[in-house]
């Protein structure tokens, strides 16, 4: 059976095949969950939770899916350990209460991401910026998802790159934004994704001084190479290349429906 590493393109093709009912007939590929690409794995695993037929997807290696599954099944809402030394791959549920984001164990998880970034070869300053951006994504998830207990985060690294994911099965970006009258006109998930990532736009309303988290994310990636994927509803927004920001964003319809909000950030020097 041929093997293929599960990147986002492979993931989209796999899910497309599933939607067309062609998965069991046409899929003879064994998908390898290559270490270091936790983004596609996480998105697939979260889809598998909702699309039971996908549970037959042939997956070659258990890790990092095993790590993710273990974190999702965990009854605790804080990562274990207070060490600042990174693992090659680590997932944790996100503490559901805003005040828990200041707990030492959660701070330690953030510090392990920072350590992962420096281990991958980034400067201390860049590693701190990436970790700060991760914190903003986590804060967004706890603040806006409305289903905080579903939120999960992870990171992985190898020499030359670091990656993190933040995902939840909450109300999604379109529903969240439409809670505010400024965004009552929004109709589709793609426009909602682009709007949410635009500086100054927030469910608290335009021009309120909120909506700065994604600006922080893009600033942290200045002069770096990155691949970013955001999923909510039936759309994806992807950005890649040097100095990734909204000016080179690609928004596309991307079934099946993703319940909640998913952020995957891969960074290379």
């Amino acid at each position: 059976m041929p093997q293929r590493e599960l990147d986002f393109r492979a993931l989209d093709e796999l899910l497309q095949a599933f939607l067309m009912g062609a998965l069991s007939l046409g899929t003879q590929t064994l998908y390898s969950l290559g270490p270091g690409r936790i983004g596609p794995t996480t998105e697939l695993m979260l889809q598998r939770r909702h699309l039971s037929t996908l549970n037959g997807t042939p997956l070659a290696s258990a890790s990092p899916a095993k790590d993710l599954h273990s974190a999702m099944a965990s009854s605790g809402t804080l990562p274990s350990g207070t060490s600042f030394s990174s693992h090659p791959i680590e997932f944790s549920r996100i503490p559901p209460a805003l005040e828990s984001l200041s707990e030492p164990k959660w701070i330690a998880f953030n510090m392990r991401l920072k350590h992962a970034a420096t281990s991958a070869g980034f400067t201390k300053k860049t590693a701190a910026g990436i970790t700060g951006a991760f914190g903003e994504m986590v804060d967004n998830s706890v603040r806006h998802s409305e289903r905080q207990l579903t939120a999960i985060a992870g990171y992985s690294w190898k020499p030359g790159f670091v990656e993190f994911v933040v995902a939840d099965a909450g109300v999604g970006v379109l529903t969240s934004l439409r809670r505010h009258p400024n965004y009552g006109h929004l109709q589709d998930h793609g426009t909602a994704l682009f709007t949410a990532l635009t500086p100054g736009e927030s469910r608290y309303g335009r021009g309120t001084g909120h909506g700065t988290g994604f600006k922080t994310l893009f600033a942290s990636l200045a002069d770096l190479n990155g691949f970013l994927r955001f999923r909510s509803g039936d759309h994806a927004l992807e950005i890649d290349g040097t100095n990734p920001d909204l000016t080179n964003a690609r928004v596309s319809q991307c079934p099946p429906f993703y319940e909640g909000f998913f952020v995957s950030v891969l960074v290379a020097p």
Binding site: L98, L101, I107, G132, A133, F134, V142, G209, G213, K215
Partner: protein, 192 residues
């Protein structure tokens, strides 16, 4: 002076997210000693690598508003931000059309290089310059001094001074029936 080492307070050199800013605000407020002695809170960002806009908004503006409301004897300055923190702070202040005083503070607690960060409207800049020249002033005094240059009345000067005090750039004290204003720290410079 009450110096708050933010790295110690938060337990990390990366200060991100509005939630953590709110938690830091609660911790700073809880640590304030009781009493009505005039003093200044120094938010010391020494050893902090990153502080994001949302964290700075919740802590910085939140603490300033708390002091205005509940502890008017306390002034507030931001000290020792590195370039990354300063950039985030300026972005946040510009977005919110707010201003704060930033400075350096050394190990002995000596403040230096105090200046205003964030945008001020033209009339506010003019008012601040006028107070800086006099070191302390009230509305009537400024009205008399600048009557020929500015057509605004005493009430207008009062409003401008009160607006700068609300931003935490000037502090006010009562002198009889008038309010007198002076910079929140000595040797404050105007430019950013």
């Amino acid at each position: 002076m009450m110096r708050v080492d933010l790295k110690d307070l938060a337990g990390t050199d990366i200060l991100s997210g509005a939630a953590n800013g709110t938690t830091a605000l609660a911790r700073v407020v809880a640590s304030l000693p009781p009493g009505a002695e005039e003093s200044i809170i120094v938010l010391d960002f020494r050893h902090v690598e990153v502080a994001t806009s949302s964290f700075l908004r919740e802590l910085g503006l939140g603490l300033r508003d708390y002091c205005n409301r509940s502890r008017p004897e306390l002034g507030l300055v931001v000290a020792n931000p590195n370039a990354a923190v300063l950039e985030e702070l300026r972005d946040m202040l510009t977005e919110k059309r707010e201003a704060m005083v930033i400075c350096q503070v050394d190990a002995r607690g000596r403040l230096s290089g105090a200046r205003v960060a964030g945008p001020l409207e033209e009339k506010q800049r003019f008012t601040l310059d006028a107070v800086l020249k006099l070191r302390e002033a009230d509305a009537a005094e400024l009205f008399k001094r600048y009557e020929r240059l500015d057509s605004i009345g005493v009430n207008g000067w009062n409003n401008r001074l009160a607006a700068l005090a609300a931003k935490g750039i000037l502090r006010e004290r009562r002198s009889g029936r008038t309010k007198r204003y002076r910079p929140v720290v000595e040797d404050l410079q105007h430019g950013t």
